[in-house]
Symmetry: C2
């Protein structure tokens, strides 16, 4: 096993460990820093520019060709073409980030979005009343503001606020409603939170609504996972248990409240200055979060309670924010294509791409959107939790100790998250392992691991010895007992390959059916955008090798980060983005795979792993 080295990214200070040879783009992604790659990592556009501050990182020929010798001597590199050699500190300019902090810029179109949140703070310096000017406090304030109504909480605060600071107050308006008043000038304190409600993970970003800057990010496991990994089991819980909905809603609300606590603790932001929360999740997650019984999502004909955005206030959800803080739940497309997908579409401007494009968010529920010829088609596939490491015998989440990368050369080379001893394998490691086993001829296209005496003669002995028979099936030894964190050998079992095939086939069948309905061949795809925490760690060559993605050139397969979070942030920062989300939710056509007569055939075909290696391209 090669030793990993530490890679530090500035200015965030985030650090990860990576094997020498890892491309900078990948190491940055592992630190949560998604770089712009409009050329798909072909080394041509120069958008993924980074600068090496300390340590060694030899320039590639592409670096010199694209950036010029002068900039290369200054330490500039293309993140898509430069590789880690040893411990290194790399600065990532804000403009290279896909989710830029300073301006909201889409990777695709270069289009900017004005920061125009629906929350506005206005400081008023009023003339105090007198015996000859006895209009009510409300009239005095409203006369100085654009036309608006007033919440009862603002009204309750008003008489005191006016008289504390000599009739200087700050009014917070949400569109045409005055929601808060405070004494003095507090206009700089204006915040919102964008939340990605994943089935597995909750991610909250605290955003300055004046500048659009991210202030802090907090993430945690969705506490609902203790009730079941997938949405179906959670819907079932609501259907069968009297207080099921209340408990599931309570769990996710508690999770979000913990994130609010964490954001407040990490920063100097007072939660009373958090005026809006925008949340995006799949339909079941959003419906449970809102306290709406999801039973009808779990039975034919699978009906969601709402489609347009759900607007409410913090107290209606028992969120620990000011009672009348606004809450915006994303508009949804259908029962299994929800607000997170809409959020992903507005984050990537998928509807505005020049050629046919796919957005693929791989998770326990995979969502796939095809945009082309002026239509958008969306579907969801039940990939199951294999990519989260669940139902894999030695599987685990992408946490410290997880085998996240597998290379088969003379022997097995592994990359372990957190530079720790290996404890299990996560989703990306699983894909890598399967792809590498296919390449080396240890796995056939039906997904069967071959016995040591069946493999090609070219397979090195070190690898051949790892094929171990048990109960009539062959399993592949990844780590022996002496090297593992658990002191038990870690295997990739034949059964694990079957789980992977099922997940893989679900996604590929979904892609194929959308392409067929849209009238496209896979090779016509201009872009495949991989979204979600998991998508961003996939090795593209390997995903193509196992057939999860069509065999299009790697540079057309792009990582777009946590688009649910990013779209939620866009909606938080701009009224137009909210309207855009609404238009998207109305215009996308929902494809129900269970109604498609060819789904079974497509699925069966996709269960077979490709015989041939697609043209290799640089990661």
């Amino acid at each position: 096993m090669q030793k990993e080295v530490k890679v530090v990214f500035e200015p965030s200070g985030r650090a990860v460990y990576a094997l020498p040879g890892t491309v900078i783009l990948e190491a940055a992604a592992r630190a949560g820093l998604i770089l712009q790659t409009p050329c798909g990592g072909a080394g041509k556009c120069g958008k993924c520019l980074v600068q090496v501050r300390h340590g060694e990182c030899p320039a590639s020929e592409t670096d010199i060709a694209t950036l010029g010798a002068v900039r290369v001597t200054e330490g500039f590199r293309l993140a898509c073409h430069s590789h880690i050699h040893g411990p290194v500190t790399i600065e990532i300019p804000d403009r290279s980030l896909f989710q830029s902090q300073q301006q909201i810029l889409t990777a695709d179109s270069g289009e900017t979005v004005d920061i125009r949140p629906r929350v506005r703070k206005i400081c008023l310096r009023l003339t105090p009343p007198s015996q000859h000017d006895t209009v009510s406090d409300t009239e005095r304030v409203l006369a100085a503001l654009p036309p608006c109504s007033m919440t009862i909480d603002a009204l309750r605060a008003l008489p005191g606020a006016l008289r504390i600071a000599g009739f200087v107050i700050t009014c917070t308006l949400v569109e045409h409603e005055l929601v808060a008043v405070e004494p003095g000038d507090t206009t700089t304190e204006c915040y919102g939170i964008a939340v990605d409600i994943g089935s597995t993970t909750l991610v909250a970003t605290l955003v300055n609504l004046n500048t659009g800057a991210d202030i802090a990010v907090a993430a945690r496991v969705n506490p609902q996972t203790s009730f079941g990994d997938d949405v179906i089991s959670r819907i079932q819980k609501c259907r069968t248990e009297k207080d099921g909905l209340a408990r599931l809603q309570g769990a996710v609300i508690e999770g979000v409240n913990h994130l609010i606590d964490e954001l407040e603790r990490k920063t100097h932001v007072n939660r009373n200055h958090i005026y809006e929360m925008v949340l995006a999740g799949n339909t079941t997650m959003q419906q449970i979060l809102a306290g709406i019984d999801p039973s009808a999502l779990g039975e034919l004909p699978f009906i969601p309670a709402f489609r347009g955005a759900l607007e409410t206030q913090a107290s209606d959800l028992r969120l620990h924010l000011p009672r009348q803080s606004k809450v915006f739940l994303f508009p949804q497309i259908g029962s299994f294509v929800g607000g997170d997908t809409v959020s992903g579409i507005i984050a990537t401007r998928l509807d505005r791409t020049s050629g046919p494009s796919l957005l693929v968010d791989i998770g326990t529920n995979g969502e796939i959107v095809l945009s082309g010829k002026g239509r958008m088609l969306a579907t969801s596939v039940a990939a199951g939790p294999a990519f989260e490491g669940a139902r894999i015998i030695n599987g685990m989440r992408a946490a410290p100790g997880a085998i996240e990368k597998v290379l088969l050369d003379g022997d097995v080379q592994l990359n372990i998250i957190g530079n720790a001893k290996p404890a299990g394998i996560c989703g990306t490691g699983l894909i890598d392992a399967a792809a590498e086993l296919l390449r080396k001829g240890l796995l056939d296209s039906t997904g069967r691991l071959l016995a040591a005496d069946e493999v090609p003669a070219s397979v090195p002995d070190a690898l051949r010895r790892r094929l171990v028979e048990k109960d009539g099936e062959i399993n592949f030894l990844l780590v022996d007992a002496g090297s593992s964190a658990t002191h038990q050998p870690l295997f990739l079992y034949q059964r694990d390959i079957r789980e992977l095939q099922l997940a893989n086939a679900a996604i590929r069948a979904g892609i194929n059916i959308l392409l067929r309905i849209g009238g496209f061949q896979p090779e016509e795809l201009e872009a495949v955008l991989l979204a979600g925490a998991f998508g961003n760690f996939i090795r593209r060559n390997n995903a193509r090798r196992i057939g999860m993605l069509p065999p299009i050139p790697c540079h057309r397969i792009r990582f777009v980060g946590n688009t649910a979070s990013f779209g939620a942030k866009r909606a938080l920062l701009s009224v137009e983005e909210k309207e855009y989300a609404d238009r998207v939710a109305r215009s996308v056509e929902h494809v129900d795979l269970s109604l498609d007569p060819e789904f079974q055939m497509e699925f069966s075909t996709a269960m077979l792993l490709p015989e041939d290696e697609p043209d290799h391209c640089p990661e």
Copy 2:
């Protein structure tokens, strides 16, 4: 003492006890039944028509002249001219009531109001979804309704409600908002509550919003009275005690919640079908009820927090109604002329009278409105609690045992509420006693009770003996120890007369200043409308005798009942009435007596009791 007799009114079944000789109009008022008297009780208009069902009630000449001999033999009488002789049952036709149940009809203009509440229930019979019709529940319902938004509570109820009754549901709309959905057809169950928030008394009327009919009325003492009788002491409580506002708000909300409980208990109405509550009270009452600090109402320059109607929902006030039931607090005119006065104006159409008219609501805070020459002027006077029996040594509220009527003839004749032994004197008894003492020459115009040897020779000995000296002052013995409920003699003390003079002068000075600003002489007044629980029991001759009201003919002085309740009910039943209330609140000019240079002089003049008896007219 004469013995009272039982008077039963049909169809309500309400019963009261009254002295023989009491005019029917007065007995009915004591039962809370205010009759129409557009001619001011002159016996000319025939609007106060009633029918004697059992018992004796001889017809007057006016009865025969106005109604004709035939109808009189059928038992019809004018309530303003017929007197009780013995136990009797009287039917009051709905059309004779000032606050008619079946149609909202104003006593002044005969104008009707359409029932057009902002709450509407609509039953939908929808086609259930199928695999080929998978629109969301919300879209399915909204497509069948006029354009509207939806509350989160309605959304939460929706999926279940649709599926319980085969996609037949009833939707409740409040203007353009869908606030509730229920399975099946519940359109007949549609209610609201109108509440008069008095400083002393809370009165709630449960109203059927489909028909406009009153279902039940409940009343109770405002629990805030335990914190002080008048609004100033309650404001002071909020200013000086940390939790003062919370406690006062909690008290009145608890009072209203008890009324809701009582209305539910009395009827078969489920509170989940109560969709709106309209409340009217003075500015301090409304502000405390809404949880808004009233401190600025208690210090110069006396500023209210709001003027326009305050619209909120039940949960914001912790009212025990469905969380999202609408709450409408009346628009207000100024710091001391509040929503109850606006409600009174819309109840009486005061702004639409043909000649100059006064609306006088006598309570601890007296509100006076003058309408004439296209303007309305309003003021409030601190009458103090004397009319509630407070600060009167043997005073009490108008409850069983209270002396509510005093006549001096050969001796004292008293009417006691509830046919009980006397326990104290209430406001109307106090006015009666003062007026009668003036008439008989036992009280001079400075308000001094004369000694037995100072009174005119014509005074009977029985009365003269009742003037008892104590500590250099003369007091008047109303009831001796042997006849009183307390076994103590009951006196009208010299100090009580002073309290009455202060209350009296406050009201009269307010009336005089409004008339002066409006440019009217008292005799030009076409109508003086007496509102409020107390106002309706005043004997008009006596109120004129002590100078509380100007010496205009009695028929121009009319009783208009609890106009705060009635106006609140109008607003509950009609969107136009809410808008009318808003226009009234904006157009009335608020007169601050404390700023009027002549207030002190007017007040001092009004402290003197009139020397002469105005022309007597029938009560």
